[in-house]
Symmetry: C2
Subunit: 394 residues, 2 copies
């Protein structure tokens, strides 16, 4: 907060810190707290003048799209969540033509309530379940929508004139983990989320990896058993068809493997009921969890073989049942993967926390916001550039 601390963190000299901070003060991006002394039991020496980010310098919006819900957060430049709300919509009727307008209206109303003008929003970050194409800025397919290929980024950019970015919800959890504990969650790690579906997030070489078109890490729809159980995506044998809530219910109630997932009443309640049964010793429930654990072990084995992460995090609502799956998972891992590859990695089981998705969205958007300002600063600096050198920014 004080200049001297900034110097330590950035490893810049005090002289440079003074130069940079005075620039930022001029631009109004940071504020000096000379007036309100925080009455710290001051040691002697010249007191440090605290600096803080100017909360009003810019705003970002985070939007999480799930079945029937749009969850919005308004965050100021200092990273504080200023306002939140939840808007309901009808997932079963939402498609490429109707949803963009619904989302724009929801955000507009939200900003109006918050008393923030459109122009002050610099970044909009979106997280959605399902197959999200970050590159094209659309949702290829998601349980939250009836249609396919729902465009999100360009309608929002047109409507608000802000940078917009859409990503898979599990990617946002991955980003949130890195931000919450960079020491533990850095380098190369993977996050597997068992919830309404099965998702994976990859953090590779110190950055979030989302593949060439942005749909990377669709772990749930990687095949587990050729020609196996029917999956929500229409194919057979996907990992999700053995691991998700409907798959557990289907297995525990001895429904045939080709029972249409849409007809199975699963969801949070179905899973909770199954958990209760398992806790009270029900054979079918226990067996279903054990078998799902084994499948998970096989999935984890494939991730290790292909990605070789330092750490693997398991999370999602289904983690409440992990104790019933653990043994099965260990067995599956043992069966599927040669010992040479099974060393050198650690497994975290993380209790599920809804807020992770929001934190990740905010972290990601804040980072992009920083880049916006950095880019703007560079553009101001080069008044008459001889040429635009993309790499090597001096």
């Amino acid at each position: 907060m004080a200049r001297i601390d900034l110097g330590q963190i950035t490893r810049l000299s005090p002289a440079t810190v003074t130069a940079i901070t005075s620039d930022l003060l001029d631009q109004g991006l940071i504020l000096s707290l000379e007036s309100e002394e925080p009455k710290t039991p001051q040691a002697r020496g010249r007191p440090r003048t605290l600096l803080k980010l100017n909360p009003d310098a810019a705003f970002i919006i985070g939007a999480r799209l799930s079945v029937n819900n749009i969850d919005l957060s308004l965050v100021d430049f200092a990273g504080e969540v200023v306002r939140e709300n939840r808007t309901k919509f009808d997932s079963a009727a939402a498609d490429a033509s109707s949803f963009p307008e619904i989302l724009i209206t929801a955000i507009s109303n939200f900003l109006k309530e918050a008393g923030v003008q459109r122009g002050r929003v610099q970044e909009i970050g979106i997280a959605a379940q399902g197959v999200v194409e970050t590159e094209t800025g659309q949702v290829a397919w998601s349980p939250a929508f009836a249609g396919r290929k729902i465009p999100i980024v360009s309608p929002l950019q047109d409507a608000f004139g802000a940078q917009c970015y859409i990503s898979n919800d599990t990617n946002m959890i991955t980003e949130a983990l890195h931000w919450s504990d960079p020491n533990r969650y850095s380098g190369t790690f993977a996050v597997i989320m068992l919830d309404y579906g099965v998702g994976m997030g990859l953090y590779l070489n110190n950055q979030l990896f989302s593949g060439a078109s942005g749909t990377a890490a669709e772990f749930g729809h990687a095949n587990h058993i050729p020609g196996g159980a029917l999956c929500r995506c229409g194919k057979r044998g996907c990992l999700e068809a053995y691991l998700s809530d409907y798959a557990l219910v289907r297995a525990a109630t001895h429904l045939p493997e080709d029972t249409d997932p849409m007809t199975i009443r699963a969801g949070v309640r179905g899973l909770a009921q199954l958990l209760e049964k398992a806790a009270s010793g029900d054979e079918n429930a226990l067996k279903a969890f054990h078998e799902a654990g084994r499948v998970l072990g096989y999935g984890v084995a494939r991730v290790i073989a292909m990605i070789d992460p330092k750490r693997l995090v398991l999370t999602g609502a289904a983690m409440r049942a992990f104790s019933f799956m653990e043994k099965g998972m260990q067995d599956g891992l043992e069966e599927a993967l040669v010992a040479d590859l099974r060393n050198n990695f650690s497994l975290d089981v993380m209790p599920w926390n809804e807020d992770f998705i929001r934190s990740g969205l905010i972290a990601q958007s804040m980072e992009r916001l920083d880049k916006d300002f950095l880019g703007a600063a560079e553009r101001t600096a080069e008044d008459a550039p001889r040429r635009d050198n993309a790499e090597m920014p001096a």
Copy 2:
């Protein structure tokens, strides 16, 4: 070659190019070709003075370790291969205690023959089949060795005082592809090699990805069928157990799936025989290739789901049989992967070329050599550094 061209390529001003090149000339890293005019039909204007890398500035060694063979290349600073040789050794007897000495002797003799002193070798790059731990610098397991955990990097570094780096051979093919055609092979792409085993190389976000411990992309030992065919690694159902040469021979000759791979005479000859049979219309051979193709399709599907590459390259000796596998592969891909994920990627089938591994090794080592010199230059520059700032190298 001329300063003006360097300026265009690096996007530095002519003034800066002159400054830098005169430094490099002083250091002896580059040479000026003032004497031997290449008699280009000179346009008017001051003639360009050509510069070239000083071939004698440093040397690198590339070593490829395969079954019974050590293939060495000596490359000068200009990237020219100065000398090559092949040294035989007994893979069946090579283990952690014996092999390092064998390799050191082979390299020593090679250098002696070439008349290059040890001290002039700056980089040694090694490629090996199998599970290679880049981080620890050892081969965890490889068909080229009888034992496990063969240390390579530290013995070589001790013996030659040069930087040393070991990697999987498929990774080197991946690197070579990027170097040979950076336009086509950039960003995020995957290479699958079907040969003596099944390997994969990943190029993600414009860099070679080798995972946390360096064993990434062990595609061949990712599970395909739980409890399935016996693999060379000892587990059941690995992709390799359906796709590699021994697997093809095993399937075509109707041997049971748990036949020990070590007892199957496959290799180049076995594969060639099977190809002949298929070409002459043999049902069993055709069926074996078709089925292997299907398995490959499933494997490719898993890579697409998890990695989302822009491009996928198939190569390796077995590509001669691709025409017999193609239909099966398309079927497998169709069966395994939902259409939403199957778009947006292209498939290259690349005829196999042994030299790729060497080119990749050289490319990688040259790059590391550049970094060595860059680091050395920076260290010279900072005579009395106030602090060592790891990132932001000014």
